[in-house]
């Protein structure tokens, strides 16, 4: 089949999930003409298509939508903006000169030249291999997101009696989802002493269905030769070491893992982008450009978000900046490096420039009550409660960096001193 595609595009976006869709709209706002989204699935929308629960869009659309509804609004806008979407296609490689190599279900091998590229591939789930759970290797051990796809897209149940390791939001959502489908969810086991998903999900997904959450506990052994038959659960001490003397067994046929997400870095590492070990994604400037000029990153490929609304906001900006670069518009480069200080696990972007409004996303390392967040001597804000599960979003007015002559600003969160 002959490809209807052009050989040159202004902006090529890798990934048609929430990040890629918003980036396309952003690029269009910048005034570029030819925009292409490449997605490996048979349709755009990404993970939203399988997130059938509601809870999306409160910030962006000011109403509560399900994942597919949120995706469809964006897909419609992108289509009416005449962005081309190439589905069933995979970007194999990107050269430093921004030539893309694509393998496509419909058109075979393709090569395209881009003026700028937006990385929007999202993230992956951590698997059993990343935590090395001891035991046999039977069928029935899978990530929560895979089970979500099986149930919600393909209509196939992963099993009947389900245990969940890790209290990430996808695991909690799946506990409810599988309960609604008539499965027996025996419990959620979390290594840490606190739930890693949102409290609202603990309430509406576990408490509502009487599913127990076992904190400071982990799966110490997976039993069953062909199919999962039973798990040994052990409490852990403060060093997170399982205490087998106090373990107990749980019968189940399926173990879902909800143990964290990591940015999808295959293309980023092939491109040798400078990475940030704290976010797991590439480092970016305040216009979301990576260390390779012309390559931008947004959404979960940059850092794992917990709200799609923030993904959309970030990606609209990334797309706009990518569009500007594609048509030869260059803003002054950043001159202030931004660093994570006390109690801060990560921050994005990693540098700032005084000429534009900045949006900074960050996470704290541990739950903190009554604390003050500072950015150098430029910014200060008090918080009643900060938890690692919730990303913090700050906007900094351009004036804030006026006449700042340092090279570095540090973000710190400190407990408010008792007065």
């Amino acid at each position: 089949m002959k490809s209807p595609l052009r050989s040159r595009y202004d902006v090529v976006i890798v990934g048609g999930g929430p990040a890629g869709l918003a980036a396309a709209l952003g690029a269009r706002q910048a005034g570029v003409e030819h925009i292409l989204i490449v997605d490996r699935e048979i349709e755009a929308g990404g993970i939203l298509n399988q997130c059938i629960h509601s809870g999306f869009g409160l910030h962006y659309f000011k109403e509560e939508l399900t994942g597919p509804e949120y995706a469809e609004r964006f897909i419609r806008n992108v289509q009416s903006d005449q962005v081309e979407i190439l589905t069933d296609s995979y970007v194999l490689d990107i050269s430093p000169a921004l030539q893309l190599e694509i393998i496509s279900g419909g058109y075979g091998h393709l090569q395209l030249q881009a003026q700028s590229v937006v990385l929007a591939m999202g993230c992956r789930e951590r698997t059993r291999g990343s935590i090395r759970t001891p035991g046999f290797r039977p069928a029935g051990v899978m990530t929560a997101g895979l089970a979500q796809k099986m149930v919600n897209m393909h209509g196939v149940l992963p099993g009947r009696r389900i245990a969940i390791l890790g209290s990430g939001d996808i695991g909690l959502i799946m506990a409810r989802r599988l309960s609604l489908e008539g499965c027996d969810v025996t419990g959620v086991y979390e290594l840490q002493p606190h739930c890693s998903g949102l409290t609202r999900n603990q309430v509406q997904c576990l408490d509502d269905f009487g599913i127990p959450l076992h904190l400071s506990a982990t799966v110490a052994f997976i039993h069953g030769r062909d199919r999962v038959e039973r798990l040994t659960i052990a409490p852990v001490n403060h060093e997170l070491i399982p205490d087998l003397s106090r373990s107990w067994d749980v019968a189940c046929d399926t173990l879902l893992l909800s143990i964290g997400l990591i940015p999808e870095n295959e293309l980023s590492t092939r491109l040798r982008l400078r990475m940030d070990p704290a976010t797991g994604g590439p480092q970016v400037t305040s216009n979301l450009e990576t260390s390779l000029p012309g390559v931008f990153a947004c959404g979960n490929v940059l850092h794992v978000h917990d709200l799609v609304d923030f993904v959309s906001e970030e990606s609209l900006r990334a797309g706009r900046f990518a569009g500007e670069v594609a048509i030869g518009m260059r803003r002054p480069s950043d001159n202030i490096s931004l660093q994570a200080g006390e109690n801060i696990a990560s921050c994005v972007p990693q540098s700032l420039s005084p000429d534009r409004e900045q949006i900074i996303y960050l996470r704290v390392k541990r739950p903190l009550k009554n604390c003050v967040l500072t950015i150098g001597d430029r910014y200060e804000k008090s918080f009643r409660m900060l938890v690692p599960a919730e990303m913090i979003r700050l906007t900094l007015a351009p004036e804030l960096l006026d006449r700042y002559f340092g090279e570095m600003l540090k973000i710190d969160v400190r407990l408010r001193e008792a007065t």
């Binding site: 629960h53 597919p68 509804e69 469809e72 609604l180």
Partner: protein, 126 residues
């Protein structure tokens, strides 16, 4: 009789911890909510808790075999399982439009169920 009740607002990801002061079965004070939706939630949750139900139904000859659907408003919490069970018996033919009403009244609750996405026919189905 004075009673205190703790709830977590599920109105948004903030998950505010709410505290209700109840005197003789009547709410006198609600604290802990960051916005006014938290207060409405607290009243609703104390008097008649309800939840949105989202699930999927079978879709014949669609691009995917399942269609995501949801109740247009929250249903009484006690009815959630019955609503889910009733929905699981439904089938629909592709194509489907987003917002299309699948059923006006699910499981006698008087609440309608709508499609959460458009689902075109599968390319190879006639």
């Amino acid at each position: 009789m004075l009673e205190k009740r703790r709830l977590t607002c599920i109105g948004c990801p903030m998950s505010c911890p709410l505290e209700l002061v109840i005197i003789d079965g009547e709410i006198r004070e609600i604290t802990g909510n960051d916005c006014k939706r938290g207060e409405a939630y607290a009243r609703q949750e104390y008097t008649a808790p309800c939840r949105m139900v989202s699930t999927t139904i079978a879709c014949n000859s669609g691009l995917w075999p399942r269609l995501p659907v949801k109740t247009v408003t929250a249903v009484p919490k006690a009815e959630v399982m019955a609503v889910a069970r009733a929905l699981h018996t439904l089938e629909i033919e592709a194509p489907v439009q987003i917002g299309q009403v699948i059923l006006d009244d699910i499981a006698g609750t008087g609440i309608a169920v709508i499609a959460c996405r458009s689902l075109p026919s599968a390319p190879n189905s006639k």
